[in-house]
Symmetry: C2
Subunit: 541 residues, 2 copies
């Protein structure tokens, strides 16, 4: 690991614009933006994926590896990534910083408290919650309906016991009401932080958060709770992007990490825009597969921030192809050419969808040590048969060198892209029309069914004048449909919208299909049970 | 503000042992201890206070000012202070970093997230809580009784609605049971962090935490929940002391901040021991008045860490003297010599108590701009009449210069102290005997009355073999008695112990008198409503 001052130098960031957090992490001072904002933007590359098997596709790994590979072929590249959430790190998932020879460093720090951004968001979130209950307790001048508070509490932890709770029990402890905790990455504040252009934008968005409804059923905002200035103070450092490095010393901006279901699943706009001024190529990723991640990256993040991506990478794996053909997880290792062919329909559709946004797509086969050469060859042949650019990515084993072919093809795609990027729908459509557009064009479903509650909320949204907002789909990542077991490239299905939520601060309408969990639980044997202090830390006297 | 690297230099700390958090805050690397541990210790000065009026006595201010004043008279002095809790800063209290010309810098950062220590403690606390409910959810192999879980959840927030809650409602969300949140500073982990000598000690203490009881009513520990290694990882940086500076550039170690009622209310042992190697004088403080703060500083912190204080400062104010004579708050400003005389009984008793520990005491009259010279003179005369060293401290207005006389008297007291420090009671006494010793010798009460529940727990403590632990009294800070309105120097009263708690990890038995609140609420107009971003932070583009 090199000192972060050195990495910053590599990215052209002067030492005076670094706020160091130890020797290997730094926040980038707001003054830096003023110095670089007049530069032309680098090219923005989105790394997305096919629908994954439950083990994941290696999107973060590929993003890191590709940024290294671009440097190997002498392009000045920077990655822009999301911050890992602590809850899943202690739960099922382990880290979220890549691995092998394409890893973010210092991985442990980044996976744990990092520079405190998520803790700051938790605190701002819970301050607002406390001030809501306090407002009701001290006379409720605003006339908040305690049964219609939609602002829950937040914690960066996997803790199922906090999903549904009753608060305010006992004498003098406020109003008794139902409540619940979400994991902090699901907080609207996380989405807001990631979509804000600057502190003033952050403040305006926080002001607009709808925290509940009054007795006349009118929305009540965070602004009315007098909490927003304090929330801005709590978030002032969290709004500054973080700089770290990869195993090969490639600079990486790691900033923000909203959920990819009830939020848009992309790293911060501030971090991405800064990266575009510092690198000729900026590699970023979006959550889940392209049906959710890329669609929201384009229709929410790029729309709001005015970003123009130049190319997309679709990460696929041999295992995920077979999984998408319906092969059981236990049988994914066995050679099965027929299954590869069948599962390839999934890849094909994602590539078509990306082309629909006017974006050239390159398929990256994320290679596992156990992959059979015959199967890799078959997948390459399938891509070529369909005129899809493809490269095997071996960055886990080889680092940047293992991504050279991918990097070259990405550069070619990006250079040949004639600025044809287009959004899928106009702001002016009704929310239902936007949802239908996504369902028909991206998922390839036939129709959308709404619950009565969802329909009622959609009507409220029109009354509130919020129809112009883009839609944030919350859906299973495993299928184009809303059912996790309908794999491959299904057609002719209904999408069931169970609930509509308004994230007026973030600036999108969330359409929930099925039940989306915003507070994960710990598994029987949590990752926390096997975490160990390294020797260095243990030496604390 | 000087760069922290420069302040460190002043304290003889090489740059390589600093882990910077921005330009003005740093953590001290564990390696530093090895370099300095063979040095002789500096002299340890405890700043404590008379029973305060509700506005407080200015203990932190005096601690900071005295450390500056010692430097003014050419002593190499360092302060060792507690970290402010965010909850009260956003609630009633505003900051906790001194003020005027005796302030910690950067005050805003220290009052808010600082270096993330309290967030790390919150996280470690809630990980343990989540793993307890998860253990029950996944089969409860250990046989935990869900109705006898004593480990609550924690948040660094004033939030009365979370005091008493029900968790685990709804299908698949764990076992429904009563629970509650405490403010993080009340977490046993905060007390543990502050009493630990090193990482191994921290681990052993965490292992010993009693989280609840099984169906056979036997204690269950954190160790049995397999959470402790992960908690150590989460706390590895929080265990490192933080270095900041005062308005005059005096180095200050700010580390840890446990409650002064259900915990011992002192900054960390690690920070204090390190400070004693770096300074010839180390000025530290303990929470509340000397009846609680100093008693626990001596009998818990000094006992456990083997520290030998050289002198104590008793901070008094003209207003607190009158308040202790029963004068109403609205009338505290009016000249009232009789009330001063009457209130002085309170000071006298605290000084006597300190002398009982073998510690010379210097009274510091913390001067307010509104104090009448005639009253200041009267208080000085009363001290002199009783052979008590006294100095007016004007550090708020004048900084270190305003504490010169105090500094000189403290140095004289410390130099003349012939190592006569002694603890109040032996480990070997029964818990009831320890409590009685404190009540009779410090509070000057006549007897102790226990509830049936408290008596039952005391019996359990003997059965568990924990009688050797010192006692941590949780009592109102406004009176020597357990009733806030019995001011001055009352005698002949009963102390009512309502509940006994075991902090087996921290290593003390908590005796609660009356109802002690571990989760504060927000006032009608919280300080959060008036927090504002400074211009510099607002410039974020």
């Amino acid at each position: 690991m090199k000192p972060i001052v050195e990495i910053a130098q590599r990215a052209g960031v002067p030492e005076e614009d670094l706020e160091l957090y130890g020797k290997y992490k730094a926040k980038l001072a707001p003054e830096l933006w003023d110095k670089v904002k007049h530069r032309p933007n680098g090219k923005l590359i989105l790394v997305t994926a096919m629908n994954p098997n439950p083990a994941g596709a290696g999107k973060t790994l590929t993003t890191i590896g590709l940024s290294q590979a671009l440097n190997v072929i002498d392009k000045k590249a920077i990655a822009a990534l999301r911050e890992p959430s602590l809850g899943p790190c202690l739960g099922m998932k382990g880290g979220a910083t890549g691995s092998g020879n394409a890893e973010l460093l210092p991985a442990d720090d980044i996976n744990l408290h990092f520079t405190g951004d998520i803790h700051a968001i938790t605190t701002a979130h819970n301050l607002l919650a406390a001030m809501i209950d306090n407002h009701i307790h001290h006379g409720n001048v605003r006339g908040l309906n305690p049964k219609k508070i939609v602002w829950k509490r937040a914690m960066d932890m996997n803790d199922r016991a906090l999903r549904n709770i009753v608060v305010g029990l006992g004498d003098g402890n406020g109003t008794t009401r139902e409540d619940g905790f979400m994991i902090t990455t699901a907080s609207e504040i996380m989405a807001i932080l990631c979509l804000s252009e600057n502190m003033n934008d952050l403040r305006e968005r926080l002001n607009r958060i709808i925290i509940g409804y009054d007795f006349a059923d009118q929305p009540v905002t965070a602004k009315e709770m007098n909490a927003v200035e304090a929330m801005c103070v709590l978030l002032k450092d969290a709004l500054k992007p973080n700089l770290v490095q990869t195993t090969e010393g490639t600079p990486v901006i790691v900033h923000g990490g909203p959920f990819a279901n009830i939020a848009h699943g992309c790293s911060s706009v501030i971090g991405t825009k800064l990266a575009l001024k510092l690198g000729d190529y900026v590699v970023t990723e979006a959550g889940f597969g392209a049906d959710l991640g890329a669609e929201k990256f384009f229709n929410i993040k790029c729309r709001k921030a005015g970003l123009t991506p130049s190319a997309a990478v679709v990460v696929i794996t041999v295992r995920a192809l077979k999984y998408n053909a319906g092969i059981a997880i236990a049988d994914l290792q066995a050679e099965n050419q027929a299954a590869l062919e069948m599962g390839f329909a999934n890849v094909l559709r994602h590539v078509e969808n990306l082309r629909g946004f006017g974006i050239p797509a390159v398929v990256a086969i994320n290679r596992f040590a156990t992959d059979l050469p015959s199967e890799l060859d078959a997948v390459i042949a399938m891509c070529q048969r369909n005129s899809i650019e493809v490269a095997v990515s071996n960055v886990w084993a080889e680092g940047g060198k293992g991504g050279k072919e991918l990097a070259e093809k990405v550069v070619r795609a990006a250079e040949s892209n004639a600025d044809t990027f287009r959004l899928l729908y106009e702001d002016s459509l009704f929310v239902k029309e936007k949802i239908e557009t996504i369902v028909k064009n991206i998922y390839r479903g036939s129709s959308v069914v709404y619950t009565a509650a969802a329909t009622k909320t959609l009507k409220r949204i029109e009354e509130m004048g919020l129809s112009h907002l883009p839609v944030c789909m919350a859906k299973t990542p495993y299928s184009f449909t809303d059912q996790a077991d309908r794999l491959g490239a299904p057609t002719d299905f209904e999408i069931h919208v169970s609930e509509i939520r308004v994230s007026a601060g973030a600036g999108f309408i969330v359409a929930l299909t099925g039940s989306i969990m915003t507070m994960p639980g710990l598994p029987k044997k949590p990752a926390a049970e096997t975490l160990r202090l390294e020797t260095s830390a243990e030496a604390i006297k």
